[in-house]
Symmetry: C2
Subunit: 357 residues, 2 copies
Amino acid sequence: MSIESIIQKTVSHWMQASGRLNDVVISSRIRLARNLEGYPFPLELSESQALELINQVKEAVAKAPDGPFEYVSLSEISPLERHVLVEKHLVSPQYVENPMGRGVAINDDQSISIMVNEEDHLRIQCFLPGFNLEEAWDCAAKVDDLLEASLDIAFDEKIGFLTACPTNVGTGLRASAMVHLPALVMTNQVNRVLGSLPQLGLTVRGLFGEGSDAMGNLFQISNQVTLGKTEEDILANLSAVTSQIVDKEREARQSLSEGAKEQLEDRVWRAYGLLTNARLIPGQEALKLLSDVRLGADLGFISNLELEVFNELIVSTGPAHLQYFAGQEINSMARAGQRAILIRSRLINADREEQRC
Amino acid sequence: MSIESIIQKTVSHWMQASGRLNDVVISSRIRLARNLEGYPFPLELSESQALELINQVKEAVAKAPDGPFEYVSLSEISPLERHVLVEKHLVSPQYVENPMGRGVAINDDQSISIMVNEEDHLRIQCFLPGFNLEEAWDCAAKVDDLLEASLDIAFDEKIGFLTACPTNVGTGLRASAMVHLPALVMTNQVNRVLGSLPQLGLTVRGLFGEGSDAMGNLFQISNQVTLGKTEEDILANLSAVTSQIVDKEREARQSLSEGAKEQLEDRVWRAYGLLTNARLIPGQEALKLLSDVRLGADLGFISNLELEVFNELIVSTGPAHLQYFAGQEINSMARAGQRAILIRSRLINADREEQRC
C-alpha cells in the first residue's frame, strides 16, 4: 500500500451503507488524543524529537495483529495528496497546513488512522459506517492498547490522559456521529433540535469538523466534555441523544411524505435530473442535490440506487480528489465540469448495476 | 371529423418541423378579416342574423375543393373544448368568451380555420410550419376566393375590405411569424432588436396574440398597418425584417456557442434533466425549459430529439389540454403533475424513437 493506492481506493469502510440506522446516521467516529511521556507537546517539539517519536509509532503499529498500517509522511507527499487525505477524513484540515515532522498511519480499509504530531503526539481515529459508536470505541481502544504496549503514554491517575489543550484532558475522547437531517432542515426544525445540544454537553459541526459549515444537510454531533466522565458515560450520552435526533428526523420525513409527498418527490427527482444531466456542478450544489437524492432513496422514491454511492461521491467530488484524478491543478469551473462527469457516470452506473441484478 | 377528433389530433400541420429556417421561425400565419354585405357587424348582429350568416358560411366551405371543413358551433361544445381550440391556435382567446352565434370551420390538417362572427363576420386563418409567409398567403387567398365565390363580401373600391375595427380596414390582412429568440434574450439584445419594429410598421406579441406575454422566448411579429399598402408590400416588409431577426438570433447563438459553450451546454442539459425527471412542472417553467432544450437541439448539443416535439408540447401541456385529457377540471397542482408526466413520456419517447432508427 502506498499513498497512490490509498487514494485510488475511493470507497473507505465507513462509506459502506451497511451500518445501523444508516437512513440517518452516515458514520460513527471515535478519536483519542494521546501523548508520550518525556517529550514536549508537538508545538514545542524539535525536528529530531519529532522524528524519534515518529519512529517509535511506526515500530509500534508494525506489530498490529489485524494487518499492517501504511505510514505516510506528510512532507513526502504533494500538497494535493495531503488535501485528498483531508477529504477522505483520514487527517484533519488544520493538520496538513504544516507537514514537517508529521505523518499518519492508515490501515487497509481506512477505518483507522493515527495522526502523529498533530495538536497531540497521537490522534487515534476509528471511523465506521452507520450508528456504530460502540464498535468504533472497541476499535479505538484496541489501537490504544497496541500503542500503550510499546509507548510510554502520559497519564495522570487523578486527571487521566494529558493533552496539549485542556479541552481534551481526561479521557482524550471525542466521539461523533455524522447525521443526515434533510427533513429537519426542510421543516425548519433543525435549529431547535440541534440548539439544545450544548446543554447536553454536545456540539454540532459541519462535514469537515471544527469551523466547517453544515453542507448537504450533514451534521457532526460530538461530545464537548472529556474530563470528569467515563468513556462509557460519554458514549451513552451521545448515543441516547443521537437516537432521539434519528427519531425526530424520521418523524419529519414521515410527515413530509404524508403532507407534501408530491412536492417532495418532485424535489428528489429534480435533484436526480440535475445530477445526471448538468454539465457544470459546483461543489456546494452537488452536496445539496446529493442530499435530496439520498433522501429520495431512503424514502423509496428512487429504488434502484446503492446507498454507498452518496458517501463515495461526497468525498470523491471534493476539489482535491478532482484535481488529483485530473493529474493537475484545475480551476473551479473545470472542477465543476469534472464533478458533473463523475457524478453522472457514477449515478448512472449505480442505477444500471442495480437493474442488472 | 368531430370536436373529439380535432382535439385528439395533437399535431397540427404547423407544428411539424419541416418549414424553412425552422431553427428560429416556428410558424407563419396569415389572417384575413372579411365581412358580408347587408349585415351589421357581429357586435350588432341579432341571433337570427347570426344563424343565417353561419349557414351561408357552412354552405360555402362545403364546396372546398381541397377536402371538407369541419364546422364547430362554439355554443354546442364545452367551455373546456373551446379553450382547447384556443391553445391549438384555431380560435382567438377573446372569441370563446361569448360562444353564442359563433362557430369555426377547420380543415383536416388544422392549417386553416375560419372563425365566424368574431370581431368580423369572417376571420380566415392559415397557419404553416417554419418561415412560409408566401405559401400561407396563397392558402388564405384560396380560401378567400372560395368564400367570395358564394358570399357577398363587403368591399369598397377606394378603401378596400371593410372591417369592424378601423385598424383592419383595407387589406384586412394580418401576417405574422412566430420566432424563437432564446439567444437574443440571454444576451440581453432582444429589447433592442424588437424595439425598432414599431417604426417599421410591425408589432410584437406573445404566444397567444394581443395582450399575452412572451413566454418561452417565443415572439409573434406581425404587421400593424393594413390600409394603404398592398398585401405583397406587407408580406415583403415582414419577410425582410423577420429574415434580419433570424440572422441576429443566429449570430447570438453562434457567439454564445463560442464564448460560453460550457455554460450553455450546462443550461440545456439542466433543462433536459428537469423536464425528464421533475414530478410537478408549472406551465411557465415548462415553456422556459422547453425553450432551453429546443435551443440545445438546434445547436446540436442534444442530437436525438425530433424538433416537432417542442411545438406539440407547448400546445398539449396547456391547461385546457391537460384538463380535457384528464377528463375533468383539475387544479394547477394536479395540472403540474399531469404536465410532468406528459413531457417526460413524450421526450423520452422522442429520444427512443430516434435511437431506434
